[in-house]
């Protein structure tokens, strides 16, 4: 019983609830150079991620919009906090390590910049919610690779 309760508290940590209630960088980015939609067909949630990449291949600005559960919104919000100001190849590497960490439980070495994302680790106890946590990251991957089709977690 307590173990179960702890799992829930682990999933809905204060940091997650904070980002879900007040998502950072929320809204449309006017001068986006890259963008992609992420769709979770299971629940119908949709979000769109915007990137503004400068001449040095650095993510100068980013934002997202859409609807989703606390986990997917918090993850998207944390993503924007994490990648802003980062070089594109680093953002792509973040996508790799976060999806591996959440999907396969691989204890991927976390860059100091990714420390905050440990808050998402709680989803590993909830297989049906891993897709919520990775949705925005798949959208990031699509946007960086300029894919036309919306990213899905399937």
């Amino acid at each position: 019983m307590n173990q179960q309760s702890d799992d829930l508290r682990e999933l809905y940590r204060e940091l997650i609830l904070d980002h879900a209630r007040s998502p950072r960088h929320f809204g449309r980015l006017e001068h986006a150079t890259h963008q992609a939609a992420g769709i979770n067909p299971l629940c119908g949630d949709k979000l769109r991620l915007y990137l503004q990449v400068d001449a040095d291949n650095r993510i100068e600005d980013t934002s997202f919009e859409g609807t989703g559960c606390a986990i997917s919104v918090a993850s998207a919000s944390l993503l924007t906090d994490t990648i802003i100001g980062q070089p594109v190849d680093k953002a792509e590497a973040y996508f790799e390590s976060i999806t591996k960490r959440l999907t396969h439980g691989e204890p991927a070495e976390l860059d100091q910049n990714l420390e905050k994302l440990r808050a998402l680790d709680g989803v590993r106890e909830f297989p049906s919610r891993v897709k919520c946590a990775t949705l925005a990251w798949h959208a990031l991957h699509s946007a960086l690779n300029q894919q036309e089709e919306p990213a899905t977690t399937e």
């Binding site: 019983m1 309760s5 609830l17 919610r129």
Partner: protein
């Protein structure tokens, strides 16, 4: 004893014991299963009938001269007879066995509609439909140039009957509508609507997936042309379904799929199709599943659908009342006549989060769009949490739901 408890009586507790799956713990709590609208659980008698078939009688149907094939055929065709009686069709030739409601509707769309409609014709559905009663018609409209027309619903999730009447014009080829909304629980006045369509010679298909498990169904009394439903929502196995159709219509329809069992004689010059209903049943069917549906019919008839309906109404009303008492509760679907289902939103907690938190307290509900995205769009939301009761639920299940929702509010406070 509360008034609701007195009305419910001891019968629901007895019925609950017939469903072994309910006697288990999930996340350290006794399971509360409130997702029967997605798939209902099976009584022991259904589980036993399917197991007995596999242990003693399995062989292909309609083919062998040997004993097992004969037994399998008897059991399979016996189930068809039971289903006929259950919905009071006039003949067993009108009972086509399919893989589910979805296939039943696709069969009508492709075999009845597609050869007969073209530009200028309309296919009329309603805003309440499940995707399975939308997409097959969209496909037919794309294939033929016919137009898909959608009858509106009001803010309670009820059909706007005047608007629907106005849409029943001579250019409507078929009206396809649900008996009970899977997303909102609204019970549509189908008998009245069928009568009005009949006056204009418009055939009517009823998607009865959510009707059959909860109320007595008499297709002759309804006077519908097609009635589609699934075995697994009425306490039978998955992968089973029924299409009831008037014999005169089935006679005039070309086969849906070609293959074995649906033919009398095959040569390379042509094929003579089998008689009804086999013309529409190509290939080896889901024999054990259909036998399970037959056992589910026996089970429901041993209780009586009138009693099932009365008991569930008490439960449903108690659920609606209990949910309404929670601060921050927004009920989605507030029609005057509802059964089994209640959709809702709580504070600004996303339904997916509610689903996880409830599951952690042993309470199983459905979350999301319920394969009815247009209904969600109508209410300006992306999804709901949905609790649905069946004959095996009790008042304690509803109390546990409420308690679990309050816990979710604490987490998100």
């Amino acid at each position: 004893m509360t008034q609701a408890q007195a009305q419910l009586g001891a019968s629901a507790e007895d019925w609950r014991k017939d469903f072994p799956i309910l006697d288990q713990s999930v996340s350290g709590h006794a399971l509360v299963y409130l997702d029967s609208a997605a798939s209902a659980q099976q009584p022991q008698s259904v589980i036993d009938a399917v197991a007995r078939y596999h242990q003693e009688d399995h062989a292909n149907v309609h083919r062998g001269v040997h004993t097992l094939s004969h037994r399998a055929t008897e059991a399979y065709e016996g189930a068809r007879d039971k289903i006929r009686g259950f919905i009071n069709a006039s003949s067993r030739t009108e009972i086509v066995l399919t893989s589910g409601t979805t296939e039943s509707i696709n069969l009508v769309a492709q075999s009845f509609c597609r050869p007969r409609v073209g530009p200028g014709d309309k296919v009329l559905i309603t805003h309440l439909e499940h995707h399975a009663n939308i997409v097959p018609w969209q496909l037919v409209c794309e294939q033929t140039g016919a137009e898909l027309v959608v009858a509106p619903i009001d803010d309670d999730g009820q059909l706007e009957l005047e608007a629907l009447r106005a849409l029943l014009t001579d250019d409507v080829f078929i009206l396809a509508m649900g008996h009970v909304s899977n997303a909102l629980g609204t019970v549509n006045p189908v008998k009245e609507i069928i009568a009005e369509a009949r006056q204009r010679d418009i055939p009517v298909l009823i998607d009865g997936a959510q009707g059959v498990p909860h109320m007595p169904i008499d297709v002759q009394d309804l006077d519908c042309d097609f009635y589609a439903f699934s075995g697994h929502k009425m306490f039978g196995p998955t992968g089973t379904g029924v299409l009831y159709a008037r014999e005169s219509l089935l006679d005039a329809m070309p086969p849906y799929q070609g293959g074995g069992d649906m033919i009398l004689e095959v040569s390379f010059d042509g094929t003579i199709y089998n008689e009804l209903p086999y013309k529409f049943e190509a290939g080896t069917p889901n024999i054990s599943g259909v036998i399970g549906v037959g056992a589910a019919v026996d089970y429901l008839q041993s209780i009586g659908m009138e009693r099932v309906a009365a008991s569930e109404q008490v439960l449903h009303d108690y659920m609606v009342e209990s949910l309404s008492e929670i601060d921050g509760m927004r009920l989605i679907g507030t029609a005057g006549n509802k059964t089994s289902v209640q959709s809702f939103l709580l504070d600004d907690i996303h339904s997916h989060d509610l689903g996880t938190i409830l599951d952690h307290q042993g309470v199983a509900i459905r979350t999301g769009h319920h394969c009815a995205m247009p209904v969600m769009t109508r209410f300006g939301i992306s999804g709901t949490a949905r609790a649905s009761v069946a004959l095996y639920n009790n008042l304690d299940d509803v109390d546990r739901l409420v308690e679990a929702l309050r816990k979710a509010q604490q987490i998100f406070a």
